[in-house]
Subunit: 881 residues, 2 copies
């Protein structure tokens, strides 16, 4: 049987599973010869046995006794010795850091007798009494479960008490324990230790710990280790103190030590921030020897861990003790800078640097940000739907946004919620603020796609459209035209202009020459990522501007060009006419007017992506998005009638909208169904694509369009449409005298397409997984309707750790994607496979797509660098398994 207790002299930093993070690092420092107060670790295995059986496992107590005896022998002091008592700290330490979640008890070993011995030994009665007070308070709350207020209320008025007063507090604390538990505080130090260890074990399952783990996606069944360690005291006068330090700046990553020190204090006093700390440099003046020793230890640790370390230390009467170390947390900027610097210093190789920095951290460097200012107060808060920082004048509708933007104003579009009708306004605006909607509402999705800053669901904001103003929760008002600032990274809304900065990294990626160390670091590693990754990275781009930007940001093509987005603005009327057309003639007029417009769009996009693939999705508009809202229109018509202002056009439109109204537009006449039911629509698009391709070829270009059919559920649909499309392309090829080979593929975005992918592969040149829609149909819910309320409830109850719209649901949606890959490649081993849902830019999802063998991911242009980065990390993760 493995041992339940490990002395610090035995473990290593790689044993976090067994010893917890703190225990493993204490052992590592001990092995390195750094000054660590001696002690031992009770393993997570013991904790798991305790939690399973509700009691300490057999043999644990004996093992603890043995290690305690050895410790006493080594130190030369004994627990409970009234003359010179050994005092112990008992601290939890799980594999993953759970700050503040779990329990600590210090000064174990003090009782009514030993406190006298401590006073004598230390020559400091106040110190001894205060230590006893601390033990009673921590033991009372942590081990005995007494409400902390019972103790802190008594202490409130007791700052800077002298020894006598502290002895009164001790008596009172013992009385509190007696009253609240019906038992005396245990005077036996062994009993104190036993109960403290047990309390740490049990703290694994406190509700707040469970909730924290759920939130942080830490497994439930790990358990915590318990570190039992000889106490050292930073509160024994001016030659003592405690501090926290980092081997590099955790905010910027710049080399050079960094930290805080507090004289005559224990570690928890530093963290509590009750008194002002001094900087680490000041320690050099206070205690040069300890300072030098600490700097040496820091250097040893950073080289040993080959990473920036976060260290807690205490100086007891001029002697330095290392209490904890771990790889330090850091800002995204610091993460990138440190990783790149460590490569330059040859401490790690570039692949290790990529392993250490997530794509999410890289992404954080790319958003415009407000300068930090603690005094700034938000006037409203919503969901941080699309990160970044934006400043502009409030505009309340899309037309105004476009108009003001055209005359050079920066505007923030504020809407109750957005619809595709708002698209022009959203493009014109610097940022979008909505009063309704979740993180995957139309506003949020489109804003992220465009890289626009967006705060959505700011429910305290009321929009008074007739009065052209916003009303805030405090009753104040913001008129249209007033300047506001919105922070898409935090969800905050501010009045007036807050200064914004565009990160150097983005300016460099966009081709600007900027001298910036951080950008150098990021771009160096991004170059390495491109060498490592297997996945191609394409972009979702619907306009020539987006296409050009995507290319600058490193996209290897366009994976999704949504043609319905080209039908907005002034062309919307044509589409409305197409949809409500009652005969072929009306329809053909509308189609004939759309074709040259589409052709021009395609030619510009193909030019921007010359030599690279451009996957054009045929039109997929939910009908309702191109028609006026039924309820609004019905109310207008009713009021017109009531006022005897009958409007014939409105009446006709209402009849058409009622006729075309769908109960569930998401499940309605869309995609390939529309192409089959509306004659000529897909032909017109195929003709426009073919003509644009011919135009580009004649201009000497290298256009590489691919046509993608949306919402296919059966091979029969695709076969039918494919024949039509091929005929349309062939007709153009003949007319222009050119050889036009345009691959035709399909979206796999319905469960039926996934499970019949073998048949579909027989008529498709490529598949592109539309994981947004696939998630909706696989789960049977629409993200517009239920995501916000629903996932909050689900996450709180532990059913789902994360929305399947944010990160792909591997077990459900992922299983269907895998089936489709297997079935499709079974029929056609060279089938080209990609993904163009929002998951294409999500780190965890990218790893999944890499693992199952897709050829590319496609994401919004601003996510392209992140996807390149994560695609490399995915390869490295596979290699290291």
């Amino acid at each position: 049987m493995a041992s339940y207790v490990w002395d610090f002299t035995h473990g290593t930093k790689d044993q976090k599973d067994l010893l917890g993070g703190k225990g493993a690092n204490l052992a590592e420092m001990t092995r390195l010869g750094l000054p660590v107060p001696p002690g031992f670790t009770v393993t997570t295995e013991a904790c798991r046995a305790f939690l399973a059986d509700g009691r300490e496992p057999d043999g644990l107590e004996e093992e603890i006794d043995e290690h305690l005896c050895a410790l006493e022998a080594r130190i030369g002091r004994r627990l409970g010795d009234v003359a010179d008592p050994l005092l112990l700290s008992v601290r939890s330490g799980a594999k993953f850091s759970m700050p503040g979640m779990m329990e600590t008890v210090l000064d174990i070993g003090l009782n009514d007798q030993t406190v006298v011995g401590l006073a004598t030994q230390s020559g400091d009665e106040r110190f001894a009494a205060d230590s006893y007070r601390r033990l009673l308070q921590m033991f009372g709350t942590t081990v005995l479960g007494i409400d902390g207020a019972a103790f802190s209320d008594r202490m409130d008025a007791a700052a800077d008490l002298d020894a006598d007063r502290l002895r009164e507090v001790v008596a009172d604390f013992k009385a509190i324990i007696r009253e609240r538990t019906g038992s005396e505080f245990p005077q036996d130090p062994r009993e104190q230790l036993r109960q403290a260890i047990r309390a740490v074990f049990a703290s694994w399952n406190t509700p707040r710990a469970v909730l924290y783990r759920r939130h942080e996606r830490i497994p439930e069944d790990l358990g915590t280790a318990v570190n039992v360690q000889v106490m050292v005291f930073g509160n024994r006068g001016p030659t003592s103190g405690s501090g926290v330090c980092f081997t590099r700046d955790p905010a910027t990553g710049e080399p050079g030590v960094y930290g805080d020190y507090l004289q005559n204090a224990q570690g928890e006093d530093v963290v509590a921030g009750i008194r002002n700390t001094v900087s680490l440099a000041d320690l050099a003046d206070l205690d040069r020897a300890s300072y030098d020793e600490l700097l040496l230890a820091m250097s040893v640790l950073e080289h040993h861990y080959a990473d920036m370390c976060d260290i807690e230390f205490t100086i007891e009467d001029g002697t330095l003790w290392m209490l904890q170390t771990r790889v330090g947390k850091r800002t995204p900027a610091a993460a990138v800078q440190i990783a790149a610097d460590l490569v330059a210093e040859e401490q790690i190789d570039p692949d290790e640097a990529l392993r250490r920095v997530t794509g999410t951290q890289l992404a954080a460097l790319m958003f415009p940000q407000f300068a930090p200012d603690l005094t700034r107060r938000a006037v409203a808060t919503g969901l941080n739907a699309s990160p970044g920082a934006a400043v502009g004048r409030v505009v309340l509708d899309s037309a105004t946004a476009v108009e003001w933007a055209e005359r050079g104003e920066a505007v923030i579009l504020v809407r109750k919620e957005t619809t595709p009708e708002d698209l022009a306004g959203m493009m014109a605006a610097r940022g979008i603020l909505t009063a309704r909607g979740g993180k995957t509402s139309h506003a949020a999705v489109v804003a992220r796609g465009m890289g626009r800053t967006c705060v959505c669901g700011a429910e305290s904001v009321t929009i008074d459209l007739p009065g052209r103003r916003l009303r805030l929760a405090d009753g104040s008002e913001v008129a249209e035209g007033d300047v506001i600032s919105i922070d898409g990274t935090t969800g905050e809304v501010f009045l007036g202009e807050v200064p914004v900065s565009e990160p150097a990294l983005v300016r460099r990626l966009e081709g600007e020459v900027v001298d910036d160390r951080l950008a150098d670091a990021a771009l160096g590693l991004l170059d390495r990522a491109d060498l490592v990754r297997r996945l191609e990275v394409r972009a979702n781009a619907d306009t020539p501007d987006d296409a050009r930007r995507a290319r600058r940001l490193g996209a290897g093509g366009i994976g999704l060009c949504r043609t319905e987005h080209m039908f907005l603005g002034e062309r919307r009327g044509l589409v409305e006419r197409l949809i409500v057309a009652e005969d072929d003639a009306e329809r053909e007029i509308a189609l004939a007017r759309l074709e040259p417009l589409q052709r021009q769009d395609f030619a510009e996009i193909l030019e921007a992506m010359d030599g690279l693939p451009v996957t054009i999705r045929l039109i997929d508009p939910p009908l309702h998005e191109f028609l006026p809202d039924l309820t609004d229109l019905a109310v207008r018509v009713a009021l017109e009638d009531e006022r005897h202002e009958e409007d014939e056009h409105d009446h006709e439109l209402l009849a058409a909208v009622r006729r075309l109204h769908e109960q569930n537009p998401m499940l309605g006449l869309r995609g390939v169904r529309l192409g089959i039911v509306v004659p000529g629509l897909f032909d017109m698009q195929a003709t426009a694509i073919a003509e644009a391709t011919a135009d580009r070829i004649e201009a000497g270009g290298d256009p590489r369009p691919e046509v993608m059919v949306p919402l296919v559920a059966s091979a029969g649909e695709l076969a039918l449409v494919r024949t039509q499309l091929e005929q349309a392309v062939a007709a153009v090829a003949t007319r222009r005298g050119l050889d036009l080979a345009i691959p035709i593929g399909t979206m796999i975005e319905l469960p039926r397409a996934a499970v019949t992918a073998d048949r579909i592969a027989g008529v498709a040149d490529f598949f592109s997984f539309g994981t947004n829609d696939l998630t909706q149909t696989t789960w049977g819910f629409s993200r517009d309707d239920v995501e916000a309320e629903f996932f909050t409830a689900y996450r709180d109850r532990g059913i789902l750790p994360v929305s399947p719209f944010e990160s792909i649901d591997v077990d459900g949606v992922g299983s269907l994607v895998q089936q489709a890959v297997r079935l499709g490649r079974g029929v056609r081993p060279d089938l080209h496979l990609g993904v163009c849902g929002e998951h294409g830019g999500d780190p965890d999802s990218i790893h999944f797509f890499d693992r199952i063998g897709l050829d590319y991911v496609s994401c919004s242009p601003y996510r392209v660098p992140v996807a390149r980065w994560e695609a490399a990390r995915a390869r490295l993760a596979v290699r290291s398994v």
Copy 2:
């Protein structure tokens, strides 16, 4: 190499694949020694080769020549012999009958010379000329593709022409052929034969044949055989004639011969109905010898085929010739009667009887029907949404329907479309007529579930609700209270009362004592079906009445008891209050009032199904079904405001409806999601079920409830809810001092549930496949919105043969069901599996569910006998493979 040509003396009736139906049966009759004009069959294989290569396969012509020589030798006449010409018929004959779809050419062998020989031989110049005229006409249209009108126009004024006039017609017909094709009619009889055979081959691919096969689900690649046979003539004077006969009555199935005879006529004259036929009995007077010979042949055939046969014959100058036989088509009633009688006569065994009668045929016997009347004219026609016949007064809303029905009136509820609000009215009505909606609209689905007659989507009917009247296409009006009759089997609507009869079978199934031979036949076979079948059959039933009816109709339990249907009528207000509740107190009041009502419902249903399982589905209402329509309410509020009649309640309600409005209610807050988000709802239902169970136990009953959780997508949801439900049940068990073991299972109605069924099986006692919703999400469309327009377009284009809502989509939805079965049983081999979608009552789907190993199907009560029947047929189909 197999032969392309088979003499009639060689084939058998089992070679329909190769010889086609007609050829195989001609061979069979020849082998039985019946008088069949000699001939041979060109195989379907030759046809397939012709269609593939566009020319006759090598060796075919030689084989035909050989068989022709043998035929000439046997008959002693030669093709093209000017003195005594052999004449041939060339008829298509595919494996499956395609009446009127394909081609026939008679009198091959006539030309300008042989027509003289025929006249001499027959001693009938007129007959010879008319035969030549017929050849020219048939050859011209069928082989040469000339518009038939070219010939028939010329003939129109030419009834009863004499020989000279007919010779003029012949000359004109030859001229028509010359003009239209630029060539002369081929005088060479071999060339005539070659072209005729080729034309029959090619007729397989005419557009109308393709469309017909698509509609009838006949495979495209079978091809047709061609039968070449010596001509016999029924038109050679009063001692000749042609007839059609059946060995039993094809309308009723009663024993006794049945048929029509036409003197001095060819077979096509009988079918064309130009002259009046006489009954078969009259033939006895005309030609006793032929009559006796025919009756003998009929008896031989029926015993040989062990089934009712359909026969075509010709008498040529007193000699009987059998031209065709096949197992005869029959009405559903005849199918049942004949099958049962053949069992009684020991011609077939009961399993064979079941094989021969489909559940759809049995179902047709169960609907009330209008007496046939050719003079009756429909005033409107819609979709035949739920079969049967209903007569009653028009009512235009649910409340009126209930009120009038309570005072004893028969009513037909007429609505633009129905919503769950109409449920009480639908139950009160004899039939439902809607102006909008497809075969799976709310009205159609609910009506079928209740067994109510329903015609839906009668778009020519306009409902003038304020005027309390209907307006018909012809401008006439029907006032509320006027009597109409609707035929759910044909979709027709009639003014006034049409007499209706309730079938004896249903009255017997319902327990009435009725003396009826057909009912005896059906019930006898149904008993057999119960012995044969493996699948249990349960019913979907939401009320005690439905439950009792289901039990009488043979249900072995309730597979789906929808609790949301219990929330309608007067309780609807309570549910509305529950949904719009803004705090726990309001919600708890609503729940507390619902609980005793539910308990009473459950107790009555459990009593009706004492000893049998009752699967109760927890509430699954799309929210919008319990709230007023947003658009209607918004218009009302706007008008109230405009008129300064502000209504505070309406304003509040509108706010709530807007808040709860979902873009896609089908994908909204439903099922288990609602149970998780609305505290107390599922607990209330579980408590009501447990209390009702306890009530029944204390009353000495044997209640067997099962609780089913709807719309589960992940094991986590079910695990959470299961714990809640178990606690609620346990609390009742403790309170009542009873042991309540209530199985808890789930619907599998989302793709995600299917692909994660292994995990879900870990927390489910049973699965019930909700194939309606599973079809919607797997395909990504809502049947309410797109089924009608969509499937019509899809069927016309050959993409789908049948709506996946009517018969399960085996490749897509079926594949997910199979995955779930495999995954679920992999974890839990004893997992009980059923299906409760509408597919549970569909014959093809039942076969599928039997094959993949489900334990039961559940369907509407009136479909239970059909499902029992088809479950047996499914077993027999498996055994015979």
